[in-house]
Subunit: 286 residues, 3 copies
């Protein structure tokens, strides 16, 4: 069935970008203070509307306005963890999709404990992380070093089956879409899997490319009830933007500072046609 | 009396920018973690000196050094709200101007409650917000969506009288300068009103242009006791910088990432002569 | 003995940069929310790996993974001060170097109290600040205005002996390396002193150049037990990057926004050869 899904996705994703520009979904973020500005500008660039708020006292009101909710534990603390739980439960009550980024899961017991609490108490639409983070959330031991994927975990065309199995298993267990990002991205929902091969290695030279990816997935979740499509659309969008940014910086002797700016430019300039033409996605039903 | 005030302002504003570069006013910010870096760089770019601090334990010492204080509730929380009240009262004792940005007022009860507490307990020099925020602070129902002005509220040459009345009424009630930013900006102080038509629509594609505008107004409040002039100077400055940034990015296929950088460049390059030549302000006494 | 040390340093520093690119040291930051994103991107640009975390509940786990720890009190608060103490003590137990940036020391009693508590309870590898901050930490009265060095304190070739004495005295007292940054940078360890003359005045037009300097010193501390070399390497690196950024922006009519981006580009592009060729350091044993 590969081709059919493949073609469906190829047909549906570009239309999703147009719906984003039309609907301007409001995405509520409870996220870290390191990359929060990048996430806000990325959401605006692609056509969404970001709102960052983390005080427990306004979680109900903010979530109620939102089209999607991002929970990112990059700089978690006792106060905001409670806000995440309250906001997540409220989003569940209202049927608002929750996208979870378990930043640094596997690195500390506090992050593992928090990630487990979130997946236990909140029904997720999508969970996105690098392979080490997703392994940690899955309860598989890993050697995460900080917030980057451990070397030996790195997904490449060589060990996709390994990542694919982890993603599918976690998807079945949590009944949500699982996205593992790396040299090749994997999106799984139960027995359905897509690989996305867009992207550029410069993305790993700036902070926040993972957080931004999660925010963009949330933007798409804000315009469709099909969260599998939303995750694929998010990965293709950030991947192509990463390629466009590389092309824009290729000429000058640019570095990661310029690349970061061009990534936002690329998200801003990204069109449905770019996705149609440049999207590299292959899907399977097993 | 239009021309007279108009001419006065035109003559005074350029001189204010030169006073900023000469005095380098220290502006204390208690602000949100989303756009705080943009505010700091914008204040430095135009010639001021920013200091961001929010622990209640050092509010007295920080405020005492400052030439102006910014209270921005973009990511308010229980801890920093108390710091804002303490800092605001201390600034009042010392005669230091307080500039308030009611980010997201109207969006949550917590923000409305906090905004009301601030205007009740702190004497403001200037309050700046979009039309939906100012309506909320005025106690007029609005349909704010997140932190952006509601569509139906948007000020344009079409409904300026409506915004003008709201600004003047709030100014009389709070005995402070009220600035409403939008396609056309309004500055009101009791019966005195100016419209500023500088600006560029790209400003709405980046996060923080509103916060930066508030910070720039505070920089000007740090060099003159005439807060009406300071507000007009801030709006003209950010508006012209927005136009210059657009011109700088017009050539390349730039997006919002490049625009954001050029906005800071423009604030850095802005001269008294630019303000003299490009400022679009018309004033009225009613 | 000037030449000998001088030559040693000149030979060792370029090799340190290569070790950074090879080892990618993980640098744990407990830092301010104003410049945290710049610090993260700067650490990535030069080849390190940043992790920002401040909740007391994960300090032990995070510190244990790190190659160096940065304590930056730019936006200190009661909660994070405790995290800094816990993290610093843990780093001491594990022999992980601690680099302290006493941002705004001298500006408020809370900052002085906190700086004193940190130097009393934590053994530092390096302390870096501007002359006003280092004077405050040394208990010498100063007239700091906010987070910038007081005018009358400014180090220049004219009063280097004055700064040199302050640095050497504090180094002896704290038994750590002391780095004072300014027009001319001073690094002292007991009787050993180096002056670094790389840099550009545009560095003072952006927020965070000091914080970034501290983070880069920490990156180098993560690859050598010689913290004096690490401090010199950090100052030379940021100084040369500042010069390169100036050269990159010289052509266009750029301002501080572009300069900030090019500074990150320059850290990314910086090579051992650049350090060898452009490093301006002179050392003395007294």
């Amino acid at each position: 069935m590969e081709m059919s899904i493949n073609n469906d996705i190829k047909a549906r994703v570009p239309a999703l970008l147009e719906r984003v520009k039309e609907k301007k979904p409001l995405v509520h973020h409870i996220t870290n203070y390191v990359t929060v500005n990048d996430c806000a500008n990325a959401v605006l660039a692609i056509g969404g509307s970001p709102i960052m708020a983390d005080d427990i006292g306004e979680m109900h009101d903010i979530v109620s306005m939102a089209s999607a909710l991002v929970l990112n534990i990059g700089t978690l603390n006792e106060r905001t963890i409670e806000s995440m739980i309250i906001a997540g439960k409220r989003a569940n009550e209202l049927g608002i999709p929750v996208v979870f980024d378990p930043v640094g899961a596997g690195a500390t017991r506090m992050r593992d404990k928090t990630a487990n609490r979130i997946i236990d108490e909140v029904k997720l639409a999508v969970i996105r992380g690098n392979i080490s983070e997703i392994k940690a959330v899955s309860g598989i031991a890993s050697r995460t070093k900080g917030v980057d994927a451990a070397e030996e975990d790195m997904l490449s065309s060589g060990n996709l089956d390994y990542g694919k199995k982890i993603a599918m298993d976690l998807s079945r267990r949590l009944d949500c879409v699982v996205a593992i990002t790396g040299p090749v991205d994997i999106v799984a929902e139960k027995d359905k899997v897509c690989f996305v091969e867009n992207g550029d290695k410069m993305l790993s030279t700036i902070t926040g490319s993972g957080c931004v990816c999660t925010s963009i997935i949330a933007v798409y979740c804000g315009v469709t009830g099909n969260y599998f499509d939303a995750a694929v659309a998010g990965l293709i969008s950030i991947g192509i933007a990463g390629e466009m940014a590389r092309e824009m910086t290729a000429v000058s002797n640019a570095g990661s500072g310029t690349y970061r700016e061009k990534l936002i430019d690329s998200l801003y300039l990204l069109t449905a046609e770019d996705i149609q033409k440049r999207g590299k996605v292959s899907c399977h039903e097993t």
